[in-house]
Amino acid sequence: MSAVVSPIREPLVQGSKTYHQITEDLISPTEKTPSAAWTIGFILSVTTLLGGIFCITWTIWHGIGTWNLNRTVGWGWDITNFVWWIGIGHAGTLISAILLLFRQKWRTGVNRAAEAMTIFAVICAALFPGIHVGRAWVVFYFFPYPNTRGPLWPNFNSPLLWDLFAISTYFTVSLLFWYTGLVPDFATVRDRAKGLRRKIYNFLSFGWTGSAKHWQRWESLSLVLAGLATPLVLSVHTIVSFDFATSVIPGWHTTIFPPYFVAGAIFSGFAMVQTLMLVTRKILKLEEYITIGHIESMNKVILATGTIVGVAYLTELFVAWYSGYVYEQAAFFNRALGPYWWAYFGMMFCNVMSPQIFWKKSFRRSVWITFLMSIFINIGMWFERFVIIATTLARDYLPSSWSYYTPTWVEIGIYLGTFGLFFTLYLIFTRVAPVVAVAEVKSILKSAGDQYTGPNAVHHHEHDHGSENVEVHNH
């Protein structure tokens, strides 16, 4: 299969890999005993998770009164954390679906881990609406099923119910998409294993054989799922933004919310992918598969979406002023200069100003700067949700009801607990499944491996001089 590859494209797979070497590099982390770093990380995660479970139990046992929610501030850290985690869960499907449709080959290095991250982040997010309703044991009332209470149906006109449908669908589709991609790679793990391990991985790989017809259907399925997941991923945060935008609260009631939330979600999702991938590639020694080029591509997405978010913040301010509507103006005045000015400033600094350093190429290609920026953005995007939710509610129409909201130890504990849950699941994933899509990396090797393209390519045929493209041939 000769492919025409532009010589200026950076190789995506470095180290002159053969197919077998790819298998070896990507599968072997699941076959070794865990490293000390993994074990320490796992113990820390599980401990934090247990703390979170304690705080959730405390909440359910004593009730929502253990949180500092009050009159006017009915949504505090719970919904802030919910929107934050859901936002983080947007990068995986964006990478695997939208970049698949755009034929961006660099996605193959990061899609598997990013999708896993999506699924785990959605689990963390879904926890919050589940417990903040108070009576968590009847949370299934959310779903429209024929019941003995009438049957009484949920309100299909409510954005909160749309949200339930959006998130359930998003979770299911992401899981199916991710698992279908994993099946051939589980078969690779199976075929290297013996005994019980082989049986387990045969179960996980669904008896995959690698038949030509199966691959054809698999590719067809992946493409259609990508086509379905693309509008889906955009719809999810759009609908999350409807939770706010369809209300009549000044500061929430804005038509800019859907695109602004979607851009923010992709922004924070990529930041979390960077945080995780920079650590993962180092610990699992995957620098030749998740290259500086991959990091730079993701930083470009961060720069673009971060700038969209910045424009959205400024548009909101402009519209508040231009609308001539005093309540909207007061809401934004309070947001920026009121008691929560520090959150607004943190948001502006982390999300709008700091990503602008990525206009400079050497910053985009620096591992340390990228890591630092990814942490900044994670914090900044949490502040964004806190600013929108809690600070808006703290000062509503009636000044006598104005309040100041701070979380209790229970709310903080639950938030930390979701980190424990997230990292516990992620660390298990790195042990059980190859964190880079093995079959997909093999399929791009001949068009993106560094022995075939880029400055160190080895050409096995007579050069056709004067041509802009270098034709890459088999060896």
């Binding site: 149906w153 449908f165 038949s211 054809q216 259907r217 259609v224 799922l225």
Partner: protein, 173 residues
Amino acid sequence: MSYKNQDIVYGLYDDEEILLKAVQVAKDKHLEIMDVFSPFPVHGLDPILGLSESRLHIAGFVYGMLGTLTAFLGMTWIFTKDWPIIFGGKPYWSVPSFIPITFELTVLFASIGMVVSFYIVCGLGPGVVNPTIDNRITDDKFCIAFNKKDVNAQEAESFLRETGASEVNSKIL
């Protein structure tokens, strides 16, 4: 495809380009290939192998439409016939607010339906054990397999050797 109790002769190739040429030769010689196995999808293989395009996407469309109808007609029935309630002075049948859920269920039905169909038509699923021809097929080998019922075993073997297979073997699956 799942093959059990078949007497096969197969060759392993080291590279997908050698495999593609070999499949073309087999086609020219009218040798009936049972199946080709590879560690990743080999592009350009399907037309030479004579595989017709997958119809999964058609099934996906049907499942999607089923989701659309389920959601839209379901909400319509609930809010106009089963238990009409006025929300915010809006009509019972408030179509615009049905759009988000209708969209989500379209995607949900299409995705679940397609994935389930995929595993059923491929004969794959939890607990399925398919015979393994060679462990390296999911690693770095590309395999052409002939069924001894369809071809002359010696002819197939010499074809595999001539077209550059690095290993040629027989096996009963």
